[in-house]
Amino acid sequence: MAERHRVLMVSDFFYPNFGGVENHIYYLSQCLLELGHKVVVMTHAYGNRSGVRYMTRGLKVYYIPWRPFFLQNTFPTIYGTLPIIRTILIREGISIVHGHQAFSTLCHEALMHARTMGYRVVFTDHSLYGFADVGSIHMNKVLQFTLADVSQAICVSHTSKENTVLRSGLPPEKVFVIPNAVDTAMFTPAPKRSRTDEIIIVVISRLVYRKGADLLVEVIPEVCRLYPHVRFIIGGDGPKRVRLEEMREKHFLQDRVEMLGAVPHARVRSVLISGHIFLNSSLTEAFCIAILEAASCGLLTVSTRVGGVPEVLPDDMIVLAKPDPLDMVHAIKKAISILPMIDPQEMHNRMKQLYDWHDVARRTESVYDRAMNCPDQTLLERLPRYLSCGSWAGKLFCLVMIIDFLLWCLLKVVQPAADIEAVPDSATTHHQSGLDFTDTILFPLDPIGSFLFWVYRKDQKLARRKPCRMTNNMSDTA
């Protein structure tokens, strides 16, 4: 077997939060563990879930005691996380730090510190950004800073790659395209469909502007008018829910449009299999895992042609439309006409061929191999890259990196690496769930570590009483 990597996945987004990024990190980690690599996840504390947790196959998760302040993001302190990240990196003997999602401040900070300490760094971008508004301009600058010195970058679709290359100025050959996948074992079609003339269209998304809830408001009444035997099931919650409910009342569609509210991920399949057509109305989307889940359940997908969506499925499994109500209605008409030709079981089998998390893990592994082959560089060799980021920003970035370097040197004196005890590796391989007793002699000299330990002990007590729900709920890909 090739070199065994020791990976730290970093993102603000991880379970118990739910979404595409969280899913991606979890499945990728599981498959990498299966391939024999060591994987540790780091995220911020969620509620009282703070300290160390274990998930299926001994996936170790550090919930560091940093509170989120906005949309599950930690407050950007730039240097605040350096001590704890250093401790984790040394304790776990990490060789590669893999950050996820451009929104995540924790990810940006971890990648910066990791580069300062000379670790190889990989970054995965999960979303698309425009270039016009103030928010994107700021985000793009931050991304440029992080990616200026990243070893390799990964994007989830070709469109996302184009976007990332434009935003960060990274050479295209450094950016890999590795899509998401779907756990086809979890999303299976309904064993036997009830033969009725009714056609059910399912929508599962957060009801927000970006997901095109306003488009739904115009499409649904029109489709209901054209096809008396069509029903809609809408799962999800959000600020636009009120508009949808208004639409339902205005057109007297209460008995034909069912609104479920937020659907927990464990129930998504049961909602999906009650329908025939999956409707995605996003206005922007880098990849869209929801489409994969629907297709895996044997649903025909109708979607807006935005971002990376056209790359996701073969043309005969999806009907694409312009993000415009009229065109969407046309696409739904077309979908209804080809629906009799669709065999859910066959579609599910095709999805098994097309998407597999193991494949994703193997491709990611080769990216890690390349990252490890990147030459080692000193601070002085790396600074010119930051300097080239812009006339003002470049100097600012350099200053930030130099201060980070000095802080790291200070930290090395205050807390030498030799004082930080490493975790024995064997713990992660044979250990299935429950507690890792090698960890009971945690961080003797490290104040944050001691805090972690304290929280961890508290969690242990809780865990003995009530086993971690997350571990039980997650089904394995194997």
């Binding site: 184009e162 434009l166 295209p172 390349r370």
Partner: protein, 297 residues
């Protein structure tokens, strides 16, 4: 490793690369393969309008025009505070401006109807009588404050008004917050100035004058809509007139006003054309879809 060039499979055996994410790694192509079609959907500077110098200069006239209107108002304020204009003259000016404004509106818009006229006269008489009733209050409003402070505040408010004024002149649209602030600061400035005047009659005349001056942008807009040439002639006349009056008032102010006008009508357009070259607008499939449907919340 030859980055991005496949894995040593002869070119004719390789299947064409497709821009798809499904089906795992495409045989013969690495994950970091960059096709020739990379970024082909990118559109640059799609919505950028090429401007030429003359057009920008002519467009900037409207700003100078408004500046000269404000300068004229300031001139009237100073003269009446120096008691060089009595209330009868100011009332005559008010009436004259109001009449000519109406005439211009009627001529350019062609809205000659009795009900329209009555409606406006009624409104005007309401506000005028309101002002007349409030004049004693205004007169004593700033008695405990020194004149210097009032001048400074009024000057500051006028600058705020000028900066935030809606030069695009979209009448009929709901005004934004900045436009409301601009309007309010001009009214406050006129109240402050009027409160320094000696008699109630003066205060009333001055407030009425300020009210009339609020309608100036509407009149200017109608002229511009009617004929652009007329608008330019009107503006140039207005600018010359205000420059001449300000020259009589103070030489330094004259120089400042002239400098500002040159800056607005010559330097700024040139500047805009220059920085236009650096414009870089990037659009592509990653953009959020535009609102091709209406949102009525």
């Amino acid at each position: 490793m030859d980055i991005g060039n496949g894995r040593g499979i002869p070119a004719e055996q390789r299947r064409k690369w497709r821009k798809v994410a499904y089906g795992g790694m495409q045989p013969g192509y690495d994950d970091n393969y960059t096709d020739d079609s990379f970024l082909e959907d990118m559109v640059m500077n799609a919505n950028v309008v090429k401007r030429d110098m003359v057009k920008v200069m002519l467009d900037s006239v409207i700003i100078s025009q408004y500046l000269s209107i404000v300068a004229l108002v300031g001139f009237v304020w100073t003269y009446s505070l120096q008691s060089r204009l009595d209330q009868k003259t100011i009332l005559l000016i008010d009436a004259g401006l109001l009449m000519s404004g109406f005439l211009i509106l009627l001529l350019t818009e062609g809205m000659i109807s009795v009900s329209f006229l009555i409606h406006y006269l009624l409104n005007l008489s309401f506000s005028a009588s309101g002002l007349y009733l409030l004049a004693p209050v205004y007169k004593t409003l700033t008695r405990s404050i020194r004149s210097d402070s009032i001048w400074a505040v009024a000057g500051g408010l006028l600058i705020v008004h000028l900066i935030l004024h809606d030069y695009s002149q979209c009448f009929g649209r709901a005004p934004g917050m900045w436009i409301c602030i601009s309007l309010n600061s001009s009214i406050m400035a006129s109240i402050f100035v009027a409160s320094r005047l000696p008699s109630q009659g003066d205060v009333f005349a001055m407030m009425l004058f300020s009210l009339v001056f609020l309608f100036a942008p509407l009149v200017a807009f109608c002229i511009k809509k009617y004929s652009f040439r007329l608008h330019i002639i009107f503006s140039v006349l207005l600018m010359c007139y205000s420059l001449a009056l300000v020259y009589r008032l103070h030489t330094v102010l004259f120089v400042v006003l002239l400098g500002l006008m040159v800056f607005i009508m010559v330097v700024c357009p040139y500047w805009l054309i220059r920085i236009q070259e650096y414009k870089l607008e990037i659009n592509g499939p990653w953009d959020e879809a535009k609102r091709c449907f209406d949102i009525t919340d």
